[in-house]
Amino acid sequence: MSILEVENLSVSFKSYTDGFKEINHKVISSLSVALEAGEILAVVGASGSGKSLLAHAILGILPSNASISGSIKYKDEELTAARLATLRGKELALVPQSVNFLDPLMRVGSQVRTAANGGDAVSAQRKVFERYHLGKEVENMYPFQLSGGMARRTLLSTAMVSGAKVIIADEPTPGLDPVVIKEALSNFREFADNGCAVMLITHDIESALQIADKIAVFYAGTTVEIASVKDFVGKGEAIRHPYTKALWRALPQNEFIPIPGSQPHPSSLPSGCLFAPRCEMATPECEQAQPEMRELRDGMVRCIHAT
């Protein structure tokens, strides 16, 4: 049973261009992912593919000009706005990207304490800090005094003290040195091993492969493939979607071949398969309609040619 299930999610933004014309930008379209307890799901995609918005959509903190359709279920029950209000910060927690997500004028210890739910917040915060090797003096510091690694661990601490069952980590690794990255990732692994679920949103496929159980590949606002980490071996024969294959081949330790072209902007999406314009396997059929997500060899793929 999935603890968190996103089905057919679409997110669009209203904006105004010259001449006050209202346009709808669809940034996420018909997206489906599921998160199991005890598992790390890595959502991998290039920047601008709508990964962060997925996190914000699940937590219901999208800006007011965003509209959302589809369904998000937590423990088999629809996550309505009212239900979200009671779960946010208690069962669902976000680990944001950078130190900018900490209040610049509040001591970090107090900020972590505000995330605690019931019980003795101070001792909970001290315990978590100790666990993440944050010295006693850190709780009295302001965010600007933290190093990148300390800030990361502080952000992680907010999720830890909340006792959440599901953690959504948004790009937790960029700008960190390899040692800190390794440490941060192992923290997530530990968290999942304790029976919680982690959604790790990242563009760093290499780090994702190290600790995740499943990989969801994101392209232009939707998932193109959901595969087990085990499929990412050798020349990538077990991988289903041409985009995932291309990503795998582009890694330096593999063939180091870049993919030509770039991801389409939400305002000019192709009518058929979103990847077709850059795909080697594309046929006229691909441009007819966007392929549905289908099951294939214990994974999911959004491609009519995949075998």
Binding site: H56, I61, K90, P96, N100, L102, D103, P104, T114, F144
Partner: protein, 318 residues
């Protein structure tokens, strides 16, 4: 560093205002003698000019005046026949009560208005506050003063029509209550106008804060409404508001000049207008120096408040 800036600023201000006064059509001798001017012959005039050193070059006159000021002697006011320093001291006390009350009142009310408008952005209450602020930001002080005077003093008769104390009462019989009663209308005038600035700035700043990443994260942790504002909004928006309010000392002083004039309130502002109109050069120059210091201190406090209150500058110095 700051004190060097203060000294250079004062010297520059003194020189400029001295030259301006010197080149203005004010004749110090005529201003001193007043209506008796007809009884004074040209020879006597020259004698007075010589006695006062008016026949010396301008720059020498400036140094004469400047060295006297440095020695603590601002001269004698011609209209009040009192040392300038005493006039300013007494007037300043009256003005201080007026400006301080208006400053506090407009700061607190303006801040609350800005916060309410930002938290209820786009609703009718936000629109009303914005409309009020924009309208008042373009309202002249003297006009508002007259309006307040008409409504509350003339039509309703709730407050005295002007001045600092009741007329025809001996100085020792004036109660604190009397003084407060005379203070209310000028304070009201200054406050009604003073809120606009703080309110609009606070509103915009709080809107920015509420759109920030850390507020987004706080929402993701389940915070909302008043708790969200209290934990993250208030501290981030109070800092610029306090700074702004200190920096508004100059506007406060400017506003007080006009309001005191309308209400015939015996403060510094009224003294400034009197000194200017009746050619009381020593008093005018004394007031210029004093108001410069006053505004400078306001800006200095704004600067210092930031250093003390903002942990980003405070903790670094430790």
């Amino acid at each position: 560093m700051k004190s060097v800036r203060m000294v250079t600023l004062l010297v520059a201000i003194c020189l400029i205002s001295f030259l301006l006064v010197k080149n203005s059509p004010i004749d110090p001798i005529q201003a001193y003698i007043g209506a008796d001017m007809l009884k004074v012959g040209p020879e006597q005039r020259e004698k007075i000019a010589e006695y006062w050193g008016l026949d010396e070059p301008v720059i020498v006159q400036f140094f004469n005046w400047g060295s006297a000021v440095l020695a603590g002697d601002l001269g004698t006011s011609m209209i009040y026949r009192q040392p300038v320093i005493e006039v300013i001291g007494e007037r300043f006390f009256n003005s201080l009560a007026l400006m301080l009350s208006a400053w506090l009142l407009s700061g607190v009310v303006g801040f609350v208005m800005g916060v309410v408008a930002a938290m209820k952005k786009g609703t009718w209450i936000d629109r009303i506050i914005k409309w009020y602020c924009f309208t008042l930001a373009s309202t002249p002080t003297f006009w508002m003063g007259l309006l307040v005077l008409m409504v509350f003093a003339v039509w309703l008769g709730w407050f005295p029509i002007g001045m600092g104390v009741p007329a025809g009462v001996l100085a020792e019989d004036v109660t604190l209550m009397d003084r407060i009663q005379h203070l209310i209308l000028p304070v009201l005038t200054l406050s009604i106008l003073g809120v606009a600035n703080v309110a609009l700035h606070t509103r915009q700043k709080l809107i920015d804060v509420m759109a920030s990443d850390y507020v987004l994260f706080a929402r993701a942790r389940g915070e909302k409404g008043f708790v969200l504002f209290w934990r993250h909004g208030l501290r981030n928006v109070a800092l610029p508001a306090i700074t702004l309010q200190f920096a508004a000392f100059s506007e406060l002083f400017g506003g007080a000049v006009l309001a005191e004039q309308v209400f015939s309130y015996p403060g510094l502002g009224q003294a400034t207008v009197e000194a200017g109109l009746r050619g009381d050069v020593p008093l005018l120059l004394g007031l210029v120096i004093f108001s410069t210091i006053f505004v400078f201190v306001g800006n200095l406090l704004a600067d210092l408040s930031y250093r003390v209150l903002d942990p980003r500058t405070r903790e670094v110095r430790k």
